[in-house]
């Protein structure tokens, strides 16, 4: 296992005090991801749960659809490589240049905005609702969860929740990696996402929504701001998008009928 943190000598200044101390710093790691023989991307990430990250990235970018497609996952920590082997290579070949790309050459930059071109699947239609106090309670638990962040201040987090509790919680230096780790864990451990909630510490962009809209999650909740396309895609995909959940405040951008105020 790679270490997720490392100690460094730091000169800390606090008002009139100057102290040389050992501080905990978050590590970064480059993971080059292969789908069978195709090199897909290189993720700059926190070196933990890399199987989940690899499977989750391929799922959220539309390159694999379900666990049954996966034959094996190899992680080479020394070389910084992940290889996901599928039962059929032709299953994924047609998806490796998905429709969202500007040119076929841009195979490494997936989920591009400017046009809203999420996969044409019907919008999420579940009638589930949530109380605003349930949202505050989930965010309070989310804020108490980060382990790497608390010691380094350098990571993002994501969590899968039901209305009462956090079910999965993952951290990464990349905000999309934290989400992909959640999605990968859901796939590989057969955890369903119907009527559940995703919380992210990070901003919500078209890239975030292109990932989340591969699932059937009706709620996306963020501590931070959305972009215009994040809102537009949420609206089309039938996702209730909530941002700036801080203290006893929140902004509901789309499908606010699912929140009981």
């Amino acid at each position: 296992m790679k270490e997720k943190i490392k100690k460094f000598d730091v000169l800390k200044i606090n008002g009139k005090n100057t102290d040389r101390i050992q501080d905990t710093i978050v590590r970064e790691f480059a993971l080059t991801l292969f789908l069978n023989t195709h090199e897909v991307t290189t993720l700059i990430c926190t070196p933990s749960n890399l199987e989940y990250l690899a499977a989750g990235y391929l799922f959220s970018e539309g390159l694999i659809k379900e666990k049954n497609h996966i034959k094996d996952i190899y992680i080479d920590l020394k070389e910084g490589l992940a290889r996901v082997i599928t039962w059929k290579d032709d299953l994924v070949k047609s998806n490796i240049y998905p429709k969202t790309l500007i040119t076929p050459k841009a195979d490494r930059i997936l989920s591009l905005p400017n046009d809203i071109n999420i996969e044409k699947k019907p919008p999420i239609k579940t009638n589930i609702t949530i109380e605003k106090d349930e949202i505050y309670s989930l965010m309070d638990k989310f804020d108490l969860s980060p382990q790497i962040f608390m010691s380094t201040g350098g990571t993002h987090s994501a969590a899968l929740c039901d209305k009462k509790d956090l079910l999965l919680f993952r951290e990464d230096i990349g905000r999309h990696n934290a989400i992909d780790k959640i999605f990968g864990e859901c796939i590989l451990r057969d955890i369903q996402t119907d009527d559940r909630i995703l919380i992210t510490s990070g901003r919500v962009s078209s890239q975030t929504l292109n990932k989340v809209s591969k699932t059937n999650l009706p709620f996306l909740i963020s501590k931070s701001a959305p972009t215009d396309l994040g809102i537009e895609i949420s609206k089309q995909a039938g996702i209730t998008l909530i941002g700036f959940v801080r203290g006893r405040r929140m902004n509901i951008y789309t499908h606010d009928w699912r929140v009981i105020t």
Copy 2:
């Protein structure tokens, strides 16, 4: 000119109050960057100062070295394209797969970590120093500058400073884009960076340092956390790296002799 913000209807909850209001949201834009006939990358960005962004990205990724190499820059806002034309194409061809890459195929993900393989140039040796109070004063001015952020909460900022004042200030939804806009402006407007200071709102990773180490800036100051490789590269490159500058506190990670406490 593309708008940088857009209005949306938002349900705002604040304690017991629930109001439907118009809120200002930051826009995102995909800019596909060509260097002559080579497609280099697609940047998800804020649509402002795109000439600076294009030139700055190519500079900070080592694909162009100086203004004199650039013959022309075309921006097509409708198609989301930037094309930088150089006088000689062979000038850049040898750099388009720089040494930092894991494989020649990974031409879209530049500045990869795992190894510290910045261009072998001598470390920055300037004897310039700065008072800690000058750092606080610069950060106070930096915090008062953001224009898009103040209305949307959705952008990162970067600034070029001397010891007394902010000289350039740019914002973008991407933290590296904000830095590249500064570097592009320096190149295109012949603004020198010797003995000057870069402030960023964002985290400092190997990618940040691989960009900054293309300049001769001796100071990199962040409101946020560094990664392990951000610190390692700063040390090797002779850069004074300062993080978590908040209120009257800061952490100095490398070459702290340049800060007079």
